[in-house]
Symmetry: C2
Subunit: 134 residues, 2 copies
Amino acid sequence: MDCERIGRVETPYASREDAPRQGFLGDATGTVHVAEQYRAALTGLDTGHTIDVVWWADDADRSVLRVRGGNRGVFTTRSPARPNPVCVTTCDVLAVDSEAGTLDVAGVDMVDGSPVVDLKYALVGDDEHTPSDR
Amino acid sequence: MDCERIGRVETPYASREDAPRQGFLGDATGTVHVAEQYRAALTGLDTGHTIDVVWWADDADRSVLRVRGGNRGVFTTRSPARPNPVCVTTCDVLAVDSEAGTLDVAGVDMVDGSPVVDLKYALVGDDEHTPSDR
């Protein structure tokens, strides 16, 4: 199953060691850059929305199955180290420039330059109960 | 970026038309079957946990960028129709058989037989504030 890169994310984190373990642990902001051919898919996205940024951890060790001395399987973590390093970070949208294909977002935990494979509305709080708008 | 199939999910839904738009809209249960070589990654997963099942919508139209008459970009939906049909469904774990590699889960919305590419602990409710255990 082949994932296309739909863009990349610009963050303050040069390496995995610099990044928080989850986006909500930091208040860092970043910018998602969406490639030109996918920008039509941003139609309707606006400031104040909450999205799941689905990204690919380029640097992840895909051979790891257990962590913490073998006591925890990677399927019980959200670490990027896992057979398919598809990561999901829920971010708040601060600003959108649809023409330029840029989204400023808060709550990033990705390493700078990580490939983005998808964006989707997040299911958060009361929104879980208003799927008609999804 | 190539995603390996780590397993598949068995659900009551023979087609997309049969499935709810989101897992939490139905109370249907299903079974995730994890391939033998990935079962070590289930270590520690137990009944009562909540997980994100990351799956691949085989039947999705990957050329769709806008829906609803062009008014909504697919990045503002959770529809499987999108450039990379990587879907995320949050499910409650009802039972685990680590040796057989099966997880019975509630809240499924996948078409029967869909490939699974990842499982990860979900960030839900109070758990959002207990990342030390993630």
